[in-house]
Symmetry: C2
Subunit: 513 residues, 2 copies
């Protein structure tokens, strides 16, 4: 039987190789490709992906998987063979369930919708985008039917990005989150001017910023022997192998945190990808447990670490070295307050860590209603605007700053949004556990020593790759299920102190738990 | 029938897409890939190339090609369909003739040989490399038998790189070339010190050199909207599409011509690749007619243009702007003489344009003898050294500076060397024709206006891509067959004047013809 499993591994290794090739092509497209290369690149990516897909849905592979599966399961849930075949089965099953015709229809519809979205956003013209959104939602319903996961249509879509998560469970957790966040935002809004972020708006040379960002990611432990950091319009992380994980950054001359915090965010993803067990390379286990867990790693570093007081003390030393004119008179406490200024805003990607999840919750609620037929597309802008008013106390002046702001729906990424909020929730659960396990953690961070935290993350999370689902991993690491309270506790403690109000919940008690 | 041809085109388009994907992976490997990415990259390239190869040798493609071929031939030799199916047939036939087992054996043998070569060169230990060379030659003989082109074993190997060229014809042309070159080298050697190249050995900041090189290639007409120029250890040109053609450069702080002339050389290749008719993209016609024709374009720009007086006048102006400290007192004539200093040397890649071809001829003669069984591997070092003495008047002190200097044989590239000499010969034939057709050419070059020459090259050579063989193209453009005399005439006229000797042949008469 090990021979069959060997053959299965070889077949999957080649599929991974092709997926890796496609990722390289896309990385180049976003970083170095000259404008003229665009059309040829689209064809090359399509040719490689079509080949990978054909292998994945082939009857040969199905036979191998059928033959190996029972034997692998007998090896026990912590065995490589068990985890391998489970992940392989998931990937293969999803690919086989989707008829090529539906995939083609979706590709065409989302290509058209993305073009239409760009124009509609520019003109703030939702009606021009509406028929495309209708079509994407209709096709997403067909996709959900074909995938047939869970009890609700949205379950199937969610499962693509967050394996084994279910809509109803998320609704419960998100309800608790919303109930904690909305009053917190009101408290902050009432004291908006208590925190100044002036020090974030000082001009810094962009070439120096790029070097500074590389210094920081290197310090956090990103391995440049197995990765590189380039510039791109939209920062991203991509993995071609455990030993070739790349991140990109963008810088803004007049707003240096864009470069720094963007770099730290991507570095969080990259540490995960570089920390996966080397023996998972070229297997379906090379990847994050879920998009939520992946996001928990980027947000843990970006927010829980890099927006904390110990980190601000350290980074100010580096800032002063690199940008003496701008930071020689800045104090750590001033920096700490500035990078934590919060308050409602219209645009998700610009939101702070308190309000961010309310943007996400709103999108999750709307897309679930749209795909499950409880909301009509024509009613969606008004639903968006009234939820914005209810959750954040602000109402978009137009759809460009409202329902048209994100690319996701036009790209057919329905079920993706909730993973952002899941990432934030899990980041707090993981970090609370790390704090518990590592009593001197703050001191190490203050000294710019990130090896302790990184080692903990690698041992507990990174190395497992896709061996466990998010729920299994959370349970294994923290002993708990998904729970919004640690995240709410963290926010309440931090922001009540920053803005000077009495936290609504017994913070101390909760933090101790 | 047009429908069958349409299907054939689509099938080849996907093969080209996969080949393009592989080229991107290799470009990244040479430019930006971190060291850790090495193993995964080898697997990804192999997976993509294996897929492209499988498509190329498939029975489905063979059927389409069989069905379309007669119809295409009826369209006439200047039709797209004719050229397409001829190039497609050539590519497909070569792939089908090579049994997978032989390809695998060759891949393994050359991988081992390349490793062994590196060590052997380092230790100047030919006996350690000899068994690997034996094996490569034995497999190359089998490869030649399988390909079964022409009458001699070497014909099959030559045909891979120089379609339709035959060994015996080359021997004739190369004999004439050698008979012209050897006395010319003796004349130069007798007056070695007549030319100084001191101005080439002035230190120049490498970042400025890179910018300078980009300015020059842009001026020559390399389109940065459809290409880019990066750094790599070994400069090369690669094409992912007519609209994405990339070049690389290396610079040496203390020898600026390495960067400049290397850039111009690659730019020559790139202008060819960017100048191919856009409708040849994603077809087997997107490429150079042969490696020889490709090399004729790089050498035409590098030597016939950029080592000429008009170019030296122009480039000195740019050098003075970019490096005033180094070049403010340099005169155009001094620069012209310096970049044309010639003389025998041991290493091919460092040779000047006079001696270079003798290095190549020696390799061609030896590899033909080795593969055709007229020379034993054990005798090869002595054969090398005595030919060096005979042709160039120098004898390598050891094999590291002799037979072990090139990577080609260890990589299985038998039949490749002669294309370098063919490129030089053809470059002179093409340039003589361009001079004839463009009376004011020197003046335009002196003014840094390269559009006239580039336009001529594009119209006459570049746009045709792989539609014609080298012989057909030469005939079409110059009305002549391959002929070493224009190249010899060019060298005799130039170097007799530079070194102050009487040219051996009636130069004026020959140039007029």
């Amino acid at each position: 039987m090990t021979e069959t499993f060997q053959l299965l591994q070889e077949a999957f290794a080649e599929i991974c190789d092709l997926q890796s090739a496609s990722a390289v092509l896309q990385w180049d497209q976003e970083t170095y490709m000259p404008p003229g290369g665009c059309n040829a690149r689209a064809e090359a990516v399509a040719a490689v992906e079509k080949t990978a897909h054909a292998r994945l849905v082939s009857d040969d592979l199905a036979r191998l998987l059928d033959q190996a599966e029972r034997w692998a399961q007998a090896q026990g849930p912590d065995s490589f063979a068990f985890a391998f075949t489970r992940a392989a089965r998931r990937e293969q099953e999803r690919a086989r369930k989707l008829a090529p015709q539906l995939v083609t229809e979706l590709a065409k519809a989302t290509a058209l919708a993305s073009d239409a979205w760009r124009v509609a956003r520019h003109n703030s013209d939702f009606p021009a985008f509406a028929p495309h959104l209708e079509r994407v939602m209709a096709l997403s319903r067909r996709k959900a039917e074909a995938l047939a996961v869970g009890k609700r249509p949205y379950d199937s879509l969610l499962d693509i990005y967050e394996p084994d998560a279910r809509t109803t469970d998320l609704e419960d957790v998100f309800r608790a989150l919303r109930r904690g966040l909305v009053p917190l935002v009101r408290e902050i809004m009432a004291r908006r001017d208590a925190v100044s972020d002036a020090v974030l708006h000082v001009p810094c040379d962009e070439n120096l910023q790029v070097k500074f960002c590389r210094t920081v990611t290197k310090h956090l432990g990103y391995d440049f022997e197995r990765g590189r950091q380039d510039l791109s319009t939209h920062p991203f992380t991509t993995s071609f192998s455990v030993n070739d994980v790349r991140i990109t950054t963008r810088t803004l001359k007049d707003y240096w945190p864009a470069g720094l915090y963007g770099s730290i965010h991507e570095c969080g993803h990259a540490l995960y990808a570089q920390g996966i067990a080397p023996e998972f390379d070229r297997t379906p286990l090379n990847g994050g447990a879920s998009l939520g867990v992946d996001e928990s790693q980027s947000r843990l570093w970006e927010n829980l670490v890099a927006r904390g007081r110990p980190f601000c003390t350290w980074i100010l030393r580096v800032l002063r070295e690199r940008f003496p004119d701008q930071f020689s008179r800045c104090q750590a406490e001033e920096l700490y307050r500035a990078v934590n200024k919060a308050g409602p805003s219209l645009i998700r990607v610009e939101a702070d860590e308190v309000t961010y999840n309310l943007h996400v919750l709103l999108r999750f609620e709307l897309e679930a209603e749209l795909v499950e037929g409880r909301l009509r597309v024509s009613e969606a802008p008004e639903a968006w605007n009234s939820k914005m008013t209810e959750y954040l106390g602000v109402r978009p002046p137009d759809d460009a700053n409202g329902i048209l702001q994100d690319i996701h729906w036009s790209a057919g990424l329905i079920g993706y949004f909730p993973t952002y909020a899941l990432g934030n929730i899990m980041s707090a659960q993981f970090f609370a556990q790390a704090r518990h396990d590592l009593p001197g953690l703050d001191g190490t961070i203050r000294n710019g020593d990130f090896a302790v935290l990184r080692g903990w993350l690698k041992d507990n999370i990174h190395r497992h790759g896709r061996s466990y689902t998010a729920a299994e991993l959370l349970k294994k690491v923290t002993g708990r299920a998904l729970d919004a309270e640690p995240f709410l506790d963290y926010l309440r403690a931090k922001y009540s102190e920053l803005y000077g109000f009495k936290a609504a919940a017994p913070v101390a008690v909760r933090l101790a738990r």
